[in-house]
Amino acid sequence: MNTVRDPDAIIFAWLDDGPTDLPPETRNAIVIGARVVRQRRPMWLSRRNPRMSQPFRLATMAAALAVVVAVAFIAFRPALSPGPPQTSPSANPTSGPSSSPAPSRSSLPPAAEWVPFTSPFYGYTIRHPAGWDIIPATQHYGLPESPNLFPQLDKLDSPDYSLTVAGMRLRDGETSEAWLRAYFGDTIESGDACTPARSEWDAGTIDGQPAFLVRTCAPAVDTFVFAGDRVYIFTAWAGLVDDRPLFETFLSTIRLQPASAVDPTPTP
């Protein structure tokens, strides 16, 4: 004889099914990764060396003071010349309200002094402050055999700001509109819990090409740019998420070179 089943009991039994132990290889990958990944230390938390001698400590303090004075001088001196690019001349997205500046923005050198980075795969150049950690992609974006996204991104990193970039060639005949719809799926117009509705995206241009800025729940700001037969995704992380003027300054330094992009060799 059949009986009426309790759906909640079935649901919770199903939910309890499944693994509860972290696989050892993942555990080891994390532990090894922690030995490689450098911790980001805020300015207010400095490491102390207990064995530092008194004279050396005083010399260190004097050096630190000199650095602070020099940085303050650079940050607050009057602008000597407009020097391209200062603020987003070519990035022209409709800016939404931005919150207060990120923690150490004043320590960034003027954009005119930034140095260029040219992507090995994706066909663009961007400028960034000297001294940032630059980790170019080693794999092409979207390759199915790699479950790890990180090797597929160009990463421009500093303690307070982070920017990642990926790109790909559109399929033959694929329009930017078709790509966006495929990327965002059915919720492109309505949005979902992680992505705002399309009507809330910011539109503009980057290096003269159409661009869309989308703030996601990551939290991050994805910027989609279409040039030639390619799409680029520039993503702001960390302090850049809430510092739109600074992010736009980065975007203004971008030069798109779709013809120089290197695409993966198709597998037979």
Binding site: P19, P23, I30, A34, R40, L149, C194
Partner: protein, 183 residues
Amino acid sequence: MRTRLVERARGGDDVAFAELVDLDGGKCYAIAYRILRDGERARDAVQQAFLLAWRDLPRLRDPERFDVWLHRLLVNACYEEARRYRRWSVHVRVLPVDGPGEADSSVRVADRDLLERAFKRLTPEHRAVFVLHHHAGLPLDAVATVVGVPVGTVKSRLFRATRILRAAILADDRANHPEELPA
């Protein structure tokens, strides 16, 4: 003990951090697996969450908040994994989806299949709320803190997720035993 481990890890002690991974790794993996329903992506999400935690631990001012903070990193990593899968599934359509291979057999295969399909129709945000509350046992206000939405939103997501899962089971039962179920 645990707070001390967090403080040591925050100071750059990778041995203490490894102990935290041993303490919390299984729970995090269980949550990520149930949100993503995929072992490989769950492992990636856990790895990403812990490495982000290690990188930014010095910025965590209150070690007592480590659990909430780690859960938040984990949920965000799951969202990212889910988004990435969506991109690939759209453009490449080759990623395999783990089936019931990692689950035990206390639930009928047919029921599991129904629930898996119904669950995957939910957004990652709905899945996260459902798993954090019903599997990890977090109260609603804690879930709200972890996922960064108001409690009311948590309730509505829970309601929707539960309704969809119940509907999957009930629809199947109606199809098989229509005389035994209320209309």
